[in-house]
Amino acid sequence: MWKPLKLASWIAVAGLAWSVGYLYNVRYGGELSWLRAMYERKVALASQIEAPHRLLITGGSGAHYTLNTKLMEQELGIPVFNMGLDGPIGLDVILPSVLSQVRRGDIVLLIPEYLLLLDEDGLGDRSGSFGMAIGQPGLGGIPPKQLALDAMMLGVPTLRGITKSSLEVMENGKMTGYYSDPVDERGDPTVTKERAGKWWQMTFQEPVSKHALQRIAKFRKEVEAKGATLVLSLPWVYANSSDEKTIRNVKKTAEELSKIAPLLYEKDSLNLKDDSSLFADTHYHLKPEARTIRAMELVQQLKPAIASQLTTPNSPTKVPQ
């Protein structure tokens, strides 16, 4: 065979395999593809809401799986939308990915789980790949080396991933993923997942990281530059509320966060919950009845914090169907 053609065949094989892997990972079948689809649907739904004030709730899955936005909307009288995504995307990528949807008059409620608050660099396992999957590579200022690795891994579906999806196709006729269940018109999940493993109570050995504080403070400026308002909330978490170190660290976290923006949380419990029956499959995800309680609690906490916005006359609200 002609030598350059021989070498080109290596590139062709690698390119073909990588493209197949990319299609699986990003477009259809892989976990990232479902996350991308969920984000794009949420963006599309949120952009259709026409109102002078919207409440956009953001964070990781600790925001996505914890609310009843319909109830909140009824109580607050303004459109409420759940923009919660996935913790491993990392705070540095979640915040700019949501910022592009923020409009003048919006109230942005950030509910970051401790995975995001304690993280030292704001990046998670899915930071680079998520940015690339939604067509915004480099979102969050990911270092070039990490970005190059993530870009390469976009085309690697793994034996585990392919086997899982193949079995699903054989058994159910379709592929699924953690985020493959549809979201409703307000961005809330429509399916509640159950926990298979045993419960254990979380403890927190550190308070909020310096990086998280700086990034959230920057986010406040970015939100306000768009004419919107930032409000923060501690997440509900299944944790050991009698552990002194945990209490000390959460108090410190609350103290630091409240210096940046109004912080919503229940002062006595610090949103640390001892009752595992409130929770669905993880320490942050709530069962539907708990979401209702959480939503009502948030409404009560939000009302005084956003009183000035709520008094502004509302234009006709159009919620996408």
Partner: protein, 487 residues
């Protein structure tokens, strides 16, 4: 170098792109001198070493300077002076290795056996600085440096050695951290007055070995790794499964590393020694050791076994046993590695004295004696892997007890073992075992067909391209460390 760490490829790219751009422009303008290639290779190798481990690099740099100066001095002297210099430098090299690798073992495990409380007080004091944390690559480059001293001492031509050539010989980036342990006669002539030989043939050859190595490491070894459960001691089927999977993993992991090194070296026009020659096709333990980690086996043969034995050939069997036990100890400062080395030494002795009569006996009475020999060899290697993988002596004892308990081999235990995997885990395991079987079958086929190279079928143009495709599609996304980095 850790080829499964993206950092290695990133730094390689970051240095290679400017280096070869400058080289290309320099050649175009006719200002690039040939010896710049040697300097370029040296910079590339040393930068990659610094990236792999800064702490190890300091020790490495010290040893390079020491060895180079001492060898230079040795080549200028004759007789006992030359011999004394060789002895001193080898002594220092081995002492440095022993300091980092064996001090803790001697104090805690050997001295601790005789003096009560020594291990505890040693641990409380935190040992001595650096001991216990083995600098990456130290075992391999120490052996290469020692071999270089001996080979230079024995060499009839006492020509001076260039410092850049020496640095390139000991720090050649594809093999410095985990071998192959190259010898002066094989690698030094290629490194002396080194030139980058970029050609389509070299790239084609390099890509073939690279894709085979990457497939072995990232697909086979790394996908097998999560199924090896060291904690399991009670269920005999799961204990055997872990031993079997470890036997496969260690081969694909280390051979994968060696083939990636071979492929990378070919890119720049250097031929490294084949460190693995389809060892699991061996019909005897003797042959297994001719095929497994070839450069280490020949190192121990030439620099330990032969000098130890000297003229006392009647004691060859004893020295063979000692050499294998020492080889086990080289693998790690722990009792399990010593047992593993002694076990293999013992197997060789059994083969030496009982192998032929046994084979004759089997050949006369049974069908396919060759297959039986292979199965016995593979089974013996597998059992050896139990000693290799299990460093916890209590657990090792429990596992051995389980393996020799007849009623442990019950159907209920088998059912329990099978139900310990989820459907998805089981399917992945079946698939990965299928891939390993196909890979090993192609090695066997090449041996049966008496091909010039045992990896001939796996290195055929389209198979290697398929392997590259499969590596991209099936590689584990959490690569485990190379097992041999721990030694």
């Amino acid at each position: 170098m850790n080829f499964s760490d993206f950092s290695f490829w990133w730094v390689l790219l970051l240095i290679s792109v400017p280096l070869f751009t400058v080289r290309y422009i320099g050649k175009y303008l006719n200002i690039w001198r040939d010896y710049f290639d040697s300097i370029g290779l040296m910079v590339l190798s040393l930068m990659l070493f610094v990236n792999a481990s800064r702490s190890s690099f300091i020790i490495f740099a010290f040893e390079i300077i020491l060895n180079y100066l001492m060898v230079r001095l040795m080549l200028r002297r004759r007789g006992w002076e030359s011999q004394a210099i060789a002895a001193v430098v080898i002594g220092i090299d081995v002492a440095i290795l022993a300091y980092f690798k064996y001090v803790n073992f001697f104090v805690e495990d050997v001295l601790g056996l005789f003096v009560g409380g020594v291990a505890e007080s040693w641990q409380q004091r935190g040992g001595i600085p650096g001991a216990g944390a083995i600098p990456p690559g130290i075992s391999f480059y120490t052996f290469q440096m020692v071999a270089f001293v001996v080979d230079s001492f024995k060499s009839k031509k006492k020509q001076p050695i260039g410092v850049v050539d020496y640095i390139n010989f000991v720090s050649f980036f594809p093999q410095v951290v985990a071998g192959p342990i190259e010898r002066r006669a094989d690698l030094f002539p290629q490194i002396e007055s080194f030139r980058f030989k970029f050609s389509a043939e070299n790239f084609e050859d390099g890509l073939k070995w690279l894709s085979l190595g990457l497939f072995m490491k990232l697909v086979l070894a790394d996908n097998l790794s999560p199924y090896i459960n060291l904690q399991e001691t009670g269920n005999v089927w799961l204990v055997w499964l872990s031993i079997y999977l470890f036997t496969l993993r260690i081969y694909f992991d280390f051979a994968g590393y060696s083939f990636i090194a071979l492929g990378l070296a070919k890119f720049v026009g250097v031929q490294l020694t084949l460190n693995f020659i389809a060892p699991y096709t061996s019909p005897s333990i003797q042959e297994f050791w001719r095929r497994w980690h070839v450069t280490l086996s020949t190192w121990f043969r030439d620099y330990v076994f032969l000098p130890l034995m000297g003229a006392k050939k009647q004691w060859a069997a004893f020295y063979l046993f000692v050499t294998f036990t020492l080889s086990g100890f080289w693998h790690g400062a722990a009792w399990n590695f010593i047992i593993w080395g002694a076990y293999h030494g013992l197997l060789l002795l059994v083969l030496r004295y009982a192998g032929r009569p046994f084979y004759r006996f089997v050949g006369e009475r049974l069908f396919m004696p060759q297959f039986l020999s292979w199965a016995l060899t593979f089974g013996s290697v597998m059992l050896g892997c139990l000693f290799f993988m299990e460093s916890d002596m209590t657990r090792l004892g429990q596992k051995l007890q389980t393996l020799v308990t007849p009623w442990a081999y019950s159907f209920s235990n088998l059912g329990e073992a099978m139900s310990s995997f989820s459907q998805n885990e089981g399917a992945v395991l079946v698939l990965i075992l299928f891939l390993t079987t196909v890979e090993l079958f192609l090695e066997h086929l090449a041996v049966w067909q008496k091909r010039t190279n045992e990896y001939d079928l796996l290195l055929s143009p389209w198979v290697t391209r398929v392997l590259l495709g499969l590596t991209i599609l099936l590689a584990a996304n959490t690569p485990s460390k190379f097992i041999y980095f721990e030694f």
